[in-house]
Structures are given as C-alpha cells and as structure tokens.
C-alpha cells in the first residue's frame, strides 16, 4: 500500500523472444565489462589497461591461446553434462566434486601400478575417471529419489568432502615416495598421459570436447532422451502423462553430468598437471555452471561461453602479474557474469514497462485464471 509512484513492471510476453534469447548473454557480457571497469577505476587501476590485460592480451600470443583452450576444455565438458541436469530441472551444483572423484578414480592406475604402460592403460584410466564421477554423482541423485533430499545442498556439500579427500590422498597414502615430501603423487609416465595432438600443449581431450558438443546437440535435440529431459523439465505433469519417470530422469541426468565431470577430472590430471595434486582444478566445476547458463544450455553456446570464461581465468593470472590485482578479481568477474545473465534472461519472457500510478496500489493476489482463453 505505497503512495503515488512510478515503478517498473514486467509484462509477460505472449511468446518467448528469440531476439532476447541471443541478445541476453551479450547484454550480460557488456554489463559485466562496464561494472568491471568501474570496479577497476575505484581500486585505482586504469580501467582501459585492466580490461586489456584481462580480455585482450591473452589472445595476442599463441602459447596463451593454447593455454586458453586447455583451460576451456574441462569447463565445456562439465557444462555439457550439467545442461542435461538443468534442462530436466535437476540442480546439480556439485560438478566440482564429481570432477575430483573422477580424477581420483582415474589416477588409481598410474599411482598404484606405475609401471603399467600398455595401450590399454589410458582408455582404462579415462573409463575409471568417468565411472568415478558417475558414482559420486549417484549419491545426491539416489538421496533425492529415495529420501527427497534437496540435491542442491547434498551435491554442493559433497564437493567439500571430495576436495578434502584428495588433499589427504595427495599428502598421505598417494604421495610420491621420491618426491622430496612435496604433497604430490608420482608423475604419470608418458603412456599414462593424454597425448599432445597439436602445438605444444593441446591434448587429446580437445577432441573429446568437440565430440561431446556434437553428440549433446544430437541427443538433446533429436532423440527421445532429449525429449524426455525437456518435457520433465518444463511440465512434470505432462511428463507423467507421456509415461516418463521423473525419478529415473533425475538419476540419468546426474549420471551424465557426473560422467562428464569425471572425464574432465581425469583429463586434467592425465593432461596439464601430469599428476594428482592436493587440488585438481581452480573451480572449473563451478565455472561450468556459469558457462551452462551463459551458453543457453545449448552445446554450441556453451562451447563459446566456455572459451570466454577460460579467458577470465587467464586474464586474472595476467592481471595479478601485470597490475598486482588480487586473484579474487577473476571470481568477481565470474560472479558478476552469472548475476547479469540470470537477470537479463528475464527479458526473454518479460518486457519491462514503466508504470505511473497516481493512486495507491495494494497487493493483487488474484490474477486471471491460467486456463482462461484470450
């Protein structure tokens, strides 16, 4: 019951706006850059220079483009898996933990059997990585199906368990006996590493990313599985009417996301880091959530969004060296981006309108019946 005022109202669009679906991520990126510039200016850094260091400089040298692709690969793999969850309205926030679980499971072979170097080793490591991620993702899925627990909480909490467990492994039982007490596992041998296929650092998992994009595009858009995911995500009652099981879909979506995160995890330790360390990733599993939404849960969109977010990691490192900015700036950027994406997404379904009301306006609890025709 406020007085006379002007306010912004959101009017529901009769149809989703296709223009806004494409414009929303771009608008979010623009707003993030503007806010970032203000943030830099406030902390006494020239915003132009800072944004250059952040977003342009990493693209000016080949080695750093390779670095960019290497960082983008796990983020995109995870994001594609998460898209299966989010499209089916299942909220897996624990990809970071599933990534760690995959890294641990896949590392068991090179750490426990360091001398095994046959052609089967690498495929087996990858499979165990996928299985490890799936098994870890199955925990929140089964808890939700069986006991109705909130998967957001359980999957998130399991991240910290996994991180502490790998920390303990790397410092304790799996520490390299010849490693001068550094908290790392023994380095994997060549046969246990993903081969470099291009340049100096581009490894095989770049191929996995491309395959995953194509397969996900096909499965989500053309198959009955993708159809089930979309129906259950949008209209659970219609999903039941179609004969689809919500519980089964929760488990399937979690397993897919966990498997992809596990693949990303083993690709990280059998790739760039070449060993198991106390931390497996700088938060790729969380960054992938942003990538999934920034990419509209569309495989190609997530590919592009993954490259952009990888850039913020690289730019953050550059800004630390060149400008002495805290490495937290990267997380601020990522957080802002997610915030703006979610905010801008409102514009896909609603159009804002400024309303001038001369009279008091109270709550309007009653809206026209949803079933009424127009």
């Amino acid at each position: 019951m406020t007085g006379a005022a002007m306010r912004i109202e959101l009017i529901r669009r009769p149809h989703q706006s296709t223009t806004m679906a494409i414009a929303s991520p771009l608008l979010a990126i623009a707003l993030t850059l503007i806010t970032g510039a203000i943030m830099f200016a406030l902390s006494g850094v020239n915003p132009g220079a800072a944004l250059y260091v952040y977003f342009i400089e990493p693209l000016t040298a080949w080695w750093s483009v390779e670095e960019l692709l290497t960082k983008a690969a796990p983020i995109i793999l995870i994001a594609i898996g998460l898209a299966f969850c989010y499209r089916s309205n299942t909220w897996n926030i624990g990809a970071e933990g599933q990534l760690v679980a995959g890294a641990i499971a896949g590392s068991a072979i090179p750490i426990l059997l360091p001398d095994w170097n046959g052609p089967l080793v690498l495929p087996l490591m990858l499979l165990m990585g996928i299985a490890g991620g799936m098994a870890y993702a199955a925990i929140p899925a089964l808890l939700k199906v069986r006991f109705g627990t909130n998967e957001i909480l359980t999957s998130l909490m399991l991240v910290y368990s996994a991180q502490l467990f790998v920390d303990w492994l790397a410092r304790g039982p799996w520490r390299n006996p010849e490693g001068l007490n550094f908290p790392d596992s023994r380095p994997f041998s060549d046969g246990q590493l993903l081969p470099v296929i291009f340049g100096d650092d581009i490894r095989l998992h770049i191929v996995f990313v491309l395959i995953a994009v194509v397969v996900a595009w096909f499965v989500l858009g053309r198959t009955i599985t993708g159809f089930q995911i979309a129906v259950l995500g949008q209209a659970p009652r219609a999903g039941a009417f179609a004969g689809f099981s919500r519980n089964r879909m929760i488990v399937v979506a979690f397993l897919i996301a966990g498997g992809m995160a596990g693949l990303a995890g083993i690709s990280e330790v059998a790739g760039p880091t070449e060993m198991l360390r106390t931390t497996v990733s700088p938060g790729y599993g969380f960054t992938a959530i942003i990538v999934a939404f920034l990419g509209r849960l569309q495989p190609v969109g997530m590919l592009l969004a993954g490259l952009l977010l990888a850039l913020t990691f690289l730019g953050g490192e550059g800004a630390q060296f060149a400008l002495g900015l805290s490495d937290q700036t990267t997380q601020v950027f990522q957080g802002m981006l997610l915030f703006y994406v979610l905010a801008c997404d409102t514009l896909i379904f609603y159009t804002p309108r400024i309303v001038r009301t001369g009279t008091a306006s109270g709550p309007t609890p009653r809206t026209p019946a949803p079933g009424a025709e127009t």
């Binding site: 159809f227 009652r237 219609a238 004969g243 009279t359 009653r366 019946a369 025709e373």
Partner: protein, 523 residues
C-alpha cells in the same frame, strides 16, 4: 425464473448513464488483433451476457475491464467518466468485482482467512467473520466463516468468492463461466442471488457458453466474433440455435447420432473393484469402482468437480497404478499395474481435463506435443530412439484438417492456441490413432459451441466405429447429448451405469449430491 421479460425490457429501455462503458477498444498482441473497435455498455441493474467462441476476444475484453490488460487504444468510462484501470486492485477500488472460473482459494485456510487475504483495508478477523455472516445471509449464500475451505463443496467455494466480491460493495460483478462447476440445483440458487443483486442496481457481466442459461437469466447480450461485436440482442427473444449461429457466424451443425449398436459387442474397458487411497490430503479416495464399457458405446460419468474424477482418470490412464492388475482390463488384458505407455500400447487413448501442462506442454510445438503421447505406440514417430519430426508434423497436419484447428503458424507452440483450438488438437491427437478405448475427461470444458460440437461428433463417430468411449464430465447437457449410458461419481464412489434414455436430470442431480448413500451434505 422470476424476472419477467417485460421488466427486462423496461430496465434496458430506461437507461441513463451506463455503469461501465467501453468504446472503440482495440487490443493487439503482436500481429493478432484480439479486440477490434469493441463498443460495449452495461447498465445499472442489468445482467449482461458476453457471448462468443473461444478466441473471439471475450477474455481479452474482460481483462481490460478488470485492469489485467491495457487496451492498445480506446476508452473505458466508469459512470460516464473516462478512467484508466491500471490493475485489478484499481478495478476493485472503482467497484468492479470478479469471480473467476477457477477459484483462487487456499485449501488449508478458513473462509474468513481467505477473504481477509483479498481485502486491502486493515480489519479484525472477528469483525470480518460477522460481516461475512451478514452478507452471506442477506444474499442467500449460506456460508460458515469458520469452515476450512478444503471441506467445502465447489458450489460453496464459489460462494466464498462471491461473498469476497460483495464485501467490497461492487457496482459491477464479472462472472466467468460460473455454472460450469455447479449442480443444476446449485446453479438455480446462484441465479436467485444474481437476480437479487441486479434488483438492487448492481450490474452483472455474465460469461457463459450455456445458451439456455443465458436465455433464462440475462437481460441483454453482446456477441463477439473474431474480436468484433457482431450483434447485440435480448437473449430471451432468440433461440439457443440463433445465439449459437451468431457466435459461430454460421449455423451450428446438429449432432448426428446413430442408434447405439444393439447386441453383444465385446467389453473393451473393464474396471473391477478399483479402490485407491488418497494421493494427498485434499484428494478423494476411490472406493470400489466397477464399470464396463463395450465397443460401440459412449458411457459418461457425471458428477460435481472434486468427487474423485481426477483420481479416477489418473487410475485409468496409468499415471497412478493400482496394486491389482485385474482392477483394470483393456481389450481383455489386465493392466491395473501397468503404466500409461503400456496401456496406450493396448490400444487405449487418454485426454486429460487440463489441456496445458498435463495434456500438452505449453512451450512445445504441436509436433512435439504429438510425440508426447504417441512416442511409445510403435507408429514410427520414434525410431531407434531418434525422433521423426517430419512424421509428427504430418500428424499435426492431419489433425488440423480433420478438426479445423485454427493457428497462426503451421507448427506453433501449444500455449499460443486458444482454448478451444488446443482442445480440438488434444482430442484430435488421440482420435487420429482410432484407439479401441478412449478415456476423456471434460472433453469440451471452456470450449465454444462450434468446437464442442466437433469434439462431441468425433467421440460419437469413434464409438460407432467400434471403440469404447468413456467420458468424465461435469456438463450435464453434454452428457445427456452424447451418452448411451450414464453413471454418477460422488465422494469417490460410482453409481451403477444406467441407460441414458431412462434417466432424468433430477435423478442425476440427486446422485451427484450423494443421494445414493444418504449421507450427502444438503445445499
């Protein structure tokens, strides 16, 4: 009815300033013009019917009058003064009340608490309860303020909505399809209340598809077609057929009924001693339901909403399975324990009451909604897990042609269709398979006369071609029009099915009130 035609004419003739007047209203939704230069006026004390097919622009006009939508152009005048109705709260402050087709009450709260939530002024609950009692007695709307809404019948819930309106002392009440959920007895009580209100000078804008009812109750009618006012008339002086043809713009075809096939067609749907507990606190348990539907016949289940119809539909479709496989038999195969896809494979089809969100996914294209119910029936819409959208679009085309589904694009989102057109699509999607057993709930709910006739004719044709058709409906006219046999559901129990020609409206009405167990609540 207690209002003589002469009195109506006087009232219409003696008009001064209309309570509410809308002139040259235009409302565009993108390229679609939902209201096209609509002129409309309602006099004090007038019960004014707003008629039109689905998609004719009735809801749009009403939403503009009630402030939920703003017109693209045109003017609304309240008692002669131009006004901008910015939102429903502003409408209520002017003195416009609305009773919706679907109630917006909280089941777990009492009548007083529910009404309290809608009021803007500060008030004490016990004062409010007294006011509710006074108003409800005054207007013949018996209501106990302390009752919990969950315990009320649908008719009583509607009274809560009406009392809620009356407490704001409206000068115009808008009623959207008020009798669609009432027994004949309850409807006649409602008419008394409306006549009483009109007698006191309150205007009533009455939206209904039931033309007989409009003829009986309303003083004046405005008829919309394709967004334009095509006629105004005194409904008492027209026949229902004339009114319907004004709405549709052509003569409505009469249903073509062939005699039910005599002799012994096989039983295709058998329900035997089906009992199911309540799925949630405000649902109805099913109690020992038995029924047989033979090929070639339409059997209808009448009843007031909330007596177990939804639960029965879910049990028949397999969305909720019964423990006992023999509780439900389709085409001689026990399937009580099987899910909906398995039952569809036994050549059954299902059409639920709720079109959007249950029968169809609103944001899905029609072709995707074809896949929704026909992905598992081995028709080639899904091959080795891959969807064939070309085939699905073929089905959309067939259904569109057969049922005259009107849409703006070849394959639009389901949510963009008007209610009647979407209902034709949802029924047509199953009809297109020619299922041996069809279970359909509220086949013509909220659907205009033209669409309703098309749908009912399809049900009759399907039955006469040898299918068993079971219709669950609250529309008694519809049931009497199409059924071969009729059963009545009340409090989760089903009466014996009786031959339609040998049962009267009154008998059905009594069964709907629960007369067969003698414990029905009287109202």
């Amino acid at each position: 009815m207690d209002t003589a035609p002469s009195a109506k004419l006087e009232r219409r003739a003696g008009d001064g300033t209309p309570t509410l007047e809308a002139s040259q209203i235009v409302k565009d939704f993108g390229p679609l013009r939902a209201n096209d230069l609509v002129d409309f006026a309602i006099q004090p004390g007038e019960i004014h019917a707003l008629l039109g097919e689905n998609g004719a622009g009735k809801s749009t006009l009403v939403k503009i009058l009630y402030g939920s939508l703003q017109p693209t152009s045109g003017e609304v005048r309240w008692k002669g003064q131009p006004v901008v109705v910015a939102n429903p709260a502003a409408a209520r402050r002017l003195g416009i009340g609305m009773v919706f087709q679907h109630f917006s009450l909280f089941d777990a709260l009492t009548v007083t608490e529910n009404i309290s939530l809608a009021l803007e002024d500060k008030h004490r609950l016990d004062d409010l309860a007294r006011k509710i009692e006074t108003v409800s007695e005054d207007y013949g709307l018996p209501l106990r303020p302390s009752s919990t809404v969950a315990d009320l019948s649908v008719g009583e819930r509607q009274r809560v909505e009406i009392v809620r309106c009356l407490l704001q002392e409206p000068e115009l009440i808008i009623m959207d399809e008020p009798t669609s959920v009432l027994t004949p007895q309850e409807a006649s009580d409602l008419f008394k209340t409306l006549n009483r209100l009109a007698g006191e000078g309150c205007s009533v804008l009455y939206i209904s598809h039931r033309l007989e009812e409009v003829k009986e109750l309303c003083h004046h009618a405005t008829i919309l077609r394709h967004g334009k006012v095509v006629a105004e008339c005194d409904p008492a002086e027209e026949t229902a057929g004339r009114l319907a043809s004004m709405m549709v713009g052509a003569d409505v075809e009469a249903l073509e009924r062939r005699a039910a096939p005599s002799g012994d067609h096989p039983v295709r749907l058998r329900i035997a001693g089906l009992s199911l507990s309540k799925p949630h606190a405000f649902a109805t348990a099913l109690d020992d339901i038995s029924l047989e539907v033979r090929g070639g016949e339409i059997v209808s289940i009448a009843g007031v909403a909330g007596n177990g119809q939804d639960e029965l539909f879910d049990a028949l479709s397999g969305e909720r399975t019964a423990g006992d496989a023999n509780a439900i038999t389709i085409n001689d195969k026990p399937c009580g324990a099987n899910g909906i896809t398995a039952r569809r494979r036994l050549d059954a089809g299902f059409v639920p009451e709720e079109r959007l969100g249950h029968g169809a996914v609103p944001r899905f294209k029609l072709s995707q909604n074809v896949v929704l119910t026909r992905h598992g029936t081995g028709e080639g819409l899904v091959r080795s897990g891959v969807l064939d959208f070309v085939a699905a679009r073929g089905v959309v085309h067939t259904v569109t042609e057969r049922f005259d589904v009107r849409k703006a694009a070849p394959d639009p989102e389901a949510g963009s269709l008007s209610g009647g057109n979407l209902q034709k699509f949802v029924v047509g999607r199953e009809y297109d398979r020619r299922p041996g057993v069809l279970v359909v709930s509220q086949p013509t709910w909220g659907v205009d006369a033209g669409a309703a006739t098309a749908i009912r004719q399809a049900l009759i044709d399907l039955a006469r071609a040898g299918s068993a058709v079971l219709v669950i409906s609250q529309d008694l006219d519809e049931i009497l029009e199409i059924s071969d046999r009729i059963a009545v559901i009340s409090q989760g129990r089903l009466s014996e099915a009786r031959v339609a020609s040998g049962i009267t409206r009154e008998e059905i009405g009594l069964l709907m009130g629960g007369a067969h167990d003698g414990g029905g609540d009287a109202h």
